[in-house]
């Protein structure tokens, strides 16, 4: 097991470096002057050159990348051009809110998905299966930012039950676990949960159907095992794959939250990314993308290791 973990960690290193390179290049393929956000329109040539040197934009690209990577390893992602504050601190504060949202959505989406998937797989080709599958297809097909709008229309505009935007009373940015804050979480979390719900339902349904059609299930039943016992075998066999899919979905929720955070003005990493893009705040853009991508890489690593821990076939292969 330790050897497996070591091998997987070694494999992650080149990925991390390539991810950093992609983040770096992304910002440097950007057309236009990277300083356009801070430079006044009538700035003199000298001032522009001075600022360019201050941000290091005057050096050759490989040098810039090396320096950026070195500083990033020490936790220094530069300062936001728009606010002047350190990028790392800004991103980490926002990521906290995104993690809150993703975990709430994961609890809803995964529970619903596992339940619907098990039921659909068990009652395959019946009307129950059809209803559960329709839910799943609707979940993966719905433009989630639109669903967010529709939920706001129903529960905030028409019924006035829940707040429409924000993450706390009076535009508060810090999170707390009380109803005053929780009511702000309900709609964004439900909206975020529909895609993982659909994908987990589909996965678990397919797995359940496959496992139930295998010979060993027949043998278990022939032996006289009760249906609940058979079900335990189904869950045991489906767990590794289902876990991998859920891990990936959690990563997507963390990294792909920008649309939902924009709809609900949720002060998370996606919201930060949005403002970085429109203020053309390149250090902030670069840092946010890098940290979100690294989160995703490490989450995948964790999922792989967890999968190997519960499924002995993987680390042998």
């Amino acid at each position: 097991m330790l050897a497996y973990i070591a091998r997987r960690i070694v494999y992650v290193i080149p990925i991390v470096i390539s991810v950093a390179l992609v983040c770096f290049l992304l910002v440097h393929i950007t057309p236009g002057d990277p300083l356009v956000a801070v430079l006044p329109a009538d700035a003199s040539q000298e001032l522009a050159a001075q600022l360019r040197a201050a941000y290091g934009f005057d050096r050759p690209l490989p040098v810039q990348f090396g320096l950026w990577l070195l500083r990033a390893l020490h936790g220094d992602l530069g300062n936001s051009i728009a606010t002047g504050r350190p990028v790392l601190a800004e991103v980490m504060r926002a990521v906290g809110n995104t993690v809150t949202l993703a975990i709430a959505a994961a609890i809803i989406g995964f529970t619903m998905g596992i339940l619907l998937g098990l039921i659909a797989g068990y009652f395959r080709e019946t009307w129950i299966d059809k209803v559960a599958t329709s839910f799943a297809i609707a979940g993966v097909s719905v433009p989630h930012y639109w669903l967010g709008m529709v939920l706001v229309i129903i529960f905030s505009v028409q019924l006035n039950w829940l707040p429409a935007v924000g993450a706390g009373p009076n535009g508060s940015n810090s999170w707390a676990w009380d109803w005053a804050h929780l009511q702000y979480l309900v709609l964004p979390a439900i909206t975020t949960s529909v895609i993982p719900m659909g994908i987990v339902t589909r996965t678990v349904r397919a797995l359940t159907g496959d496992i139930l059609s295998q010979d060993f299930v027949e043998a278990l039943r022939a032996k006289g095992l009760h249906e609940t016992g058979v079900f335990r075998h189904v869950i045991k066999n489906a767990a590794p794959t289902a876990l991998a899919v859920m891990g990936l979905q959690l990563g997507y929720m963390l990294g792909g939250s920008i649309l939902i955070e924009t709809v609900f003005s949720w002060p998370g990493s996606g919201f930060l990314l949005n403002s970085a893009i429109f203020q053309r705040d390149l250090p902030l853009l670069q840092g946010t993308i890098l940290i979100l991508a690294l989160f995703f890489v490490f989450l995948n690593l964790l999922v792989d290791i967890a999968q190997a821990a519960i499924d002995p076939r993987i680390k042998r292969g």
């Binding site: 080149p14 990925i15 390539s18 991810v19 992609v22 983040c23 992304l26 910002v27 393929i29 950007t30 057309p31 236009g32 297809i137 609707a138 993966v140 097909s141 719905v142 433009p143 989630h144 930012y145 639109w146 669903l147 709008m149 529709v150 706001v152 229309i153 505009v157 028409q158 397919a206 990563g251 997507y252 963390l254 990294g255 792909g256 920008i258 649309l259 924009t262 709809v263 990314l273 949005n274 970085a276 893009i277 429109f278 853009l285 993308i289 979100l292 991508a293 995703f296 890489v297 995948n300």
Partner: protein
């Protein structure tokens, strides 16, 4: 001399045999899918949306660009404006139908481009193998380290707003996914006996790839690509929704959803209409792709 006609018929029969068999498979697929009620209903809805988008100028609709301050945000069912008007007083029905033109193009084109690029890359990686395979597939792995929404937004955000940039960024998102599928099916086929036989009879690598491999892997890659259209529609409209795709006053569903967001307190259901169009197209493509998959008997 008397033998000649006979051998000629035999030859003709031999040559015709694989052709009829190939047609047989696609005929079976066609028959299965036309019997599937859900797939046919989805196909019908999509054809209607496509046709109305193409024929929009000849449908006798209002001008989708012409607004009026005195008839802003009319409700659904207003006389003359069956689906109401938007925040600038433009006819919603016309804008939704015209909006299909851009929305469908920016949603579907990235998948078509990625299908061409990804299939070529995957075919080459899978067939040639060795170092080239490693080089292509490891590069692909890097893109897998980004959640797809983040990658699309990062590229679009870096390149700046615009239709072309949004198409480019979505293509970049889908190429790795299609390449992976193409590589894995190609690797599965390339060691089969008929490929070996073709190689033994002197066919070059290009001929083998084009004639023997492509025909056997294209179906699976195509079905996979169709399943991406729904995601692509949602993401393309999403980029416009964020202000990274289409620019006003162009009618496009994602952008319309964005500009109507402020109207949800005044006229909520008109504001929700463009999203319903995206949803309809997306779910129809998803169901059609599922139907095609089971008709072609492909398992994921």
């Amino acid at each position: 001399m008397s033998e000649l006609p006979l051998s000629a018929t035999a030859d003709a029969a031999l040559q015709a045999a694989p052709a009829t068999k190939a047609r047989g498979y696609w005929a079976t697929v066609g028959r299965r899918i036309t019997r599937d009620k859900v797939s046919m209903a989805c196909a019908l809805v999509l054809i209607l949306i496509f046709l109305s988008a193409i024929l929009a100028p000849w449908l006798g609709l209002e001008d989708p660009y012409k607004g009026s301050m005195i008839r802003r945000l009319r409700h659904i069912g207003t006389v003359g404006y069956p689906l109401g008007t938007d925040e600038l007083g433009r006819d919603m029905l016309a804008r939704l139908i015209y909006g299909g033109r851009l929305s469908l193009v920016i949603g579907i084109l990235p998948v078509i481009l990625a299908f061409c690029i990804g299939t070529s890359l995957g075919l080459i990686a899978g067939y040639v193998g060795g170092k080239l395979n490693t080089a292509i597939m490891r590069t692909i792995d890097v893109f897998y380290a980004f959640p797809s929404v983040l990658l699309a937004i990062a590229i679009s955000g870096a390149l700046g707003a615009g239709i072309l940039n949004s198409i480019v960024s979505l293509t970049v998102v889908f190429v790795p996914q299609i390449t992976r599928v193409a590589e894995s099916v190609t690797t599965g086929v390339r060691n089969m006996d008929f490929v070996e036989a073709a190689r033994a009879s002197g066919a070059g690598p290009f001929t083998i790839m084009r004639v023997h491999i492509l025909g056997n892997v294209l179906g699976a890659i195509f079905v996979y690509a169709t399943s991406l259209i729904s995601v692509s529609m949602i993401l393309a409209a999403g980029l416009s929704f964020l202000g990274l795709g289409t620019k006003p006053p162009e009618p496009e569903w994602g952008l319309m959803l964005n500009t109507l967001r402020t109207a949800i307190y005044v006229n909520p259901w008109v504001a929700a209409l463009p999203g319903a169009m995206i949803f309809a197209v997306s779910i129809c493509f998803n169901l059609l792709s599922d139907g095609l998959r089971s008709a072609m008997d492909i398992r994921n």
